[in-house]
């Protein structure tokens, strides 16, 4: 293996608390200085079904899921049946009450002896896992104290007792399980968040003041993270009656001068298309977050895919400029969301952040984001010296008109979905139409001048160049690393902005590679097609995945040929 790591997979029914155990253990690992990457797989149901929470943990940075499982925590029989074959040589299963090992190397955890009430099973499982992985007792103990602070001393002490008993039980079993090397980063200040939380933090750092949304997996946690902090930050987050209302409310808030965000998923964005056009013609800044899941229609509502690139690229009728960001990791989720707000304000229009279920739910350890290095925000104007002659759509060389907000001075802001004169009032004059459409389209050049270039990891002219975008970055990087270790020179070109595309930024890199393979999570190779449209480039191969699961390095390598 390229990375010395342990992959812990917790499996069970929805409602059994597996995500709670997973999050607590992840936090213990991060606080102990380890790197983690969490992959969550869950079904579209509230109770029952088969869900998993997989924590890949290492002393070195990790950025992708792993097929192999080292610790299988089975809360039900199905978990053993479905995943026992993934257990590696050193793998071990920790089984709940009356679960059969089905031939796997396993330890049956006697929860009934370890806990006074079923309520404590999560704490007990955490204790067993921490002991198995060699985590210092004080780390989970401190987490218990924080978690149950509001519930009082008695509850804290009961949990600590269960924790100690469970850790001791595991040690008494003295299982033959290798410990991870000591983490070199121990003691460094870190936070543990998932992709959607990183996006929400990026919005907060950008000064978001308004969020309107209709709940839709896997985007909802962006809004929920903002709501949890709305009182602290001073913002309004409103659950709209539908996605159409959400986008239009966001536009109203932005018209009134507030930075606004609209998180949704594919089906929701489909409903927002008319509003996206409205943002285009009214030249109103608005940031959309599209957390992709497999379609068409309801598809696989809780699984992952990169199937909505075409949707977001063409969403809305008529023509207007747009920018589309596609973060590949949590730092990019934060930085690109922050950037999306500034770009939206700069060109006064819709900007999209394209993520997916895998990244949305992907917990990782990150160094706290550097807020001081962020650029000063681009803001609309408040007043003008000559309010009587203010024109919202004054024709300019750049295409950007001076944007004022209503109510801050004697100027009037007139905004219209119909074609309009520079003063915003309706017209059907053909000449004005051309002048206005040209003015709006000129803003595309501003976006093009400011595109985040794709990131090349590895050498120019490698034998294999893996081209990817969005969340496929981690698995592609690991696949390239494995190829290099096997003696094939490999590199990765990752696009974190997928529109506009500027071929000058990457054409030479594509030409220099001996073999270019596009890796993306959809059935038709949407980004590969986009590369062809933007620069007449035809890759040598495509590795596609659309079964609802995230890429792994192994998946890519098996299909490279």
């Amino acid at each position: 293996m390229a990375i010395e790591c342990i992959n812990i997979l917790i499996g069970g029914e929805a409602g059994q608390g597996l995500a709670t155990v997973g999050q607590l253990l992840s936090k213990c690992l991060v606080r102990s200085g380890y790197h983690i990457s969490v992959t969550q797989d869950y079904m579209s149901r509230v109770r029952g079904g088969h869900n998993t929470f997989a924590i890949r943990c290492s002393a070195q940075p990790v950025s992708a899921p792993l097929d192999r499982v080292d610790v299988l925590v089975a809360l039900n029989q199905e978990t053993v049946t479905l995943h026992k074959d993934q257990l590696g040589e050193r793998g071990i299963a920790l089984l709940g009450e009356s679960i059969d090992d089905e031939g796997a190397r396993a330890l049956a955890v006697p929860y009934k002896q370890l806990i006074p009430k079923r309520l404590f099973e999560n704490t007990s499982a955490l204790g067993v896992l921490c002991a198995l992985l060699g985590i210092d007792r004080e780390v989970p103990a401190e987490l218990m104290r924080q978690t149950f602070k509001k519930k009082g001393e008695d509850i804290i002490n009961q949990n600590l007792e269960v924790l100690d008993k469970s850790m001791q039980w595991l040690r008494d079993q003295s299982p033959d399980f290798p410990a991870l090397p000591a983490p070199p980063d121990a003691g460094r200040e870190k936070i543990m968040i998932n992709g959607n939380e990183a996006i929400a933090l990026g919005a907060m750092a950008a000064g978001v003041r308004f969020c309107s949304f209709y709940p839709m997996t896997p985007s909802t946690s962006v809004a929920l993270t903002l709501i949890a902090n709305a009182e602290t930050l001073g913002m309004v987050a409103e659950q709209a009656e539908d996605e159409i209302a959400a986008v239009n409310m966001g536009l109203g808030a932005s018209f009134a001068g507030a930075r606004a965000i609209v998180p949704t998923s594919g089906g929701g964005l489909a409903l927002m298309c008319e509003g996206i056009s409205l943002a285009g013609i009214t030249e109103t800044p608005l940031v959309f977050v599209l957390a992709m899941r497999p379609g068409p229609a309801t598809g696989l509502p809780t699984r992952t895919e990169q199937g909505d690139l075409d949707l977001v690229l063409y969403a809305g009728h008529g023509e207007f400029p747009r920018a589309i960001f596609a973060p590949g990791d949590l730092e990019q989720c934060f930085r690109l969301t922050h950037r999306a707000f500034d770009q939206a304000e700069k060109v006064q229009g819709p900007v999209f952040v394209l993520t997916d279920q895998y990244l949305a739910d992907n917990y990782r350890d990150v160094v706290p984001f550097d807020l001081d290095s962020l650029p000063e925000p681009v803001m609309p104007g408040e007043s003008t010296d000559d309010p009587a002659s203010y024109e919202r759509y004054a024709v300019t060389e750049s295409g950007v008109s001076p944007r004022l907000v209503p109510g801050t001075g004697e100027h009037l802001v007139v905004v219209d979905s119909d074609e309009h004169y520079p003063n915003g009032h309706i017209t059907e004059d053909h000449g004005v139409r051309i002048e206005m459409q040209d003015k709006r389209m000129r803003k595309e050049q501003i976006l093009k001048n400011d595109v985040v270039p794709p990131l090349l990891v590895g050498e120019e002219g490698a034998d294999v160049l893996l081209v990817c975008w969005g969340s496929t970055q981690g698995p592609a990087l690991e696949a390239a690393q494995l190829l290099n270790e096997q003696g094939t020179s490999a590199a990765v070109l990752h696009f974190s902005q997928v529109w506009p595309l500027v071929p000058e930024q990457y054409a030479e890199t594509l030409d220099a590679a001996k073999k270019v393979v596009v890796v993306e999570g959809n059935a038709t190779g949407q980004f590969a097609t986009l590369l062809k449209i933007a620069g007449c480039f035809e890759p040598d191969g495509r590795v596609l995945r659309y079964d609802g699961l995230p890429f792994t390095a192994q998946y890519i390598l098996e299909r490279l040929g």
Partner: protein, 282 residues
């Protein structure tokens, strides 16, 4: 007191004799009476002849999508409560395409005024039935007569306990201006449904037809009585009441929401606060 002239004169795209002219007169009169200068008001509208109204006098305006006047109006009011927010919409726009937004706005209770120009027909698309067209009414699109039951916006607004529910008539500008003023002065969501004859496409509900039927509610009527209000809201036939049908005092959205801290526009992030939020994840 402002002056009506301050709100300007513009060329319109309305048919001669259209009820919209009188509604525009009432709007200007109400704004002047309330001394609301053009830059302090923001008008939101959807699509249709009613939705063009904000184009015909001086004001801040957001003329958006068909049926979607209410969502941007609420979004703007929530981030800048100092703006006097009005939405103008036709019966097709507001009760048809925007029906869900109408219901949600009544429930949400953001402090704003909705004026619905109710001519019981789609005018701009040349005469199809709207949600408020009466059953049996024959149009080119409904040649066998309208089979759906008539939508009753006032009854729905009363049923959802809106803070202010009124009916005006385009033929009575002074009363309508007064209703718009009262609607604005009532905290929370206020509906003014206006009987507005379509002189081109609605040959049934004409000025003459309405004049025979409308009457003004007098002081003996108590608009805070829910049961009485439901009855008045349902009254539509030989006699049609105008005036304030219902009043309520639910807390408006901004009073009810803990995070509505006032002006949220043109306000950059406080990095110290963002860092404190971020470190919750340590």
């Amino acid at each position: 007191m402002g002056r009506i002239e301050d709100y300007g004169e513009f060329e319109t795209a309305w048919c001669p004799g259209c009820g919209n002219f009188r509604i525009l007169d009432a709007v200007k009169k109400a704004l002047a009476d309330m001394d609301l200068p053009p830059h302090k008001v923001a008008y939101f509208s959807g699509i249709g002849q009613a939705a063009k109204l904000p184009h015909y006098f001086k004001c801040n305006m957001f003329n958006g999508l068909h049926g979607r006047g209410l969502p941007p109006a609420q979004g703007a009011k929530l981030v800048n409560p100092e703006l006097a927010v009005f939405c103008h919409s036709g019966d097709g726009c507001n009760y048809g395409e925007g029906g869900n937004h109408f219901l949600a706005a009544l429930r949400r209770n953001v402090d704003m005024v909705l004026v619905a120009h109710d001519n019981q027909i789609y005018g701009l698309t040349k005469g199809q039935a709207s949600p408020t067209t009466e059953e049996g009414h024959v149009t080119k699109a409904q040649p066998w007569g309208v089979k759906s039951s008539m939508f009753k916006p006032l009854a729905v607004a009363v049923a959802l306990r809106a803070n202010f529910v009124a009916r005006g008539f385009a033929g009575n500008v002074d009363q309508l201006a007064d209703l718009i003023r009262q609607a604005h002065e009532t905290p929370g969501f206020a509906l003014v449904d206006v009987l507005q004859p379509c002189v081109t496409f609605n040959k049934v509900n004409t000025f003459a037809w309405y004049k025979e039927r409308v009457y003004e509610l007098d002081d003996s009527y108590d608009p805070t009585d829910f049961d009485a209000a439901m009855k008045k809201a349902e009254e539509f036939g030989d006699r049609i009441p105008t005036g304030v049908i219902y009043r309520n005092d639910r807390p408006n959205f901004c009073e009810a929401l803990v995070t509505c801290g006032g002006e949220l526009f043109n306000k950059p992030a406080d990095r110290g606060l963002v860092r404190s939020v971020m470190m919750q994840y340590a």
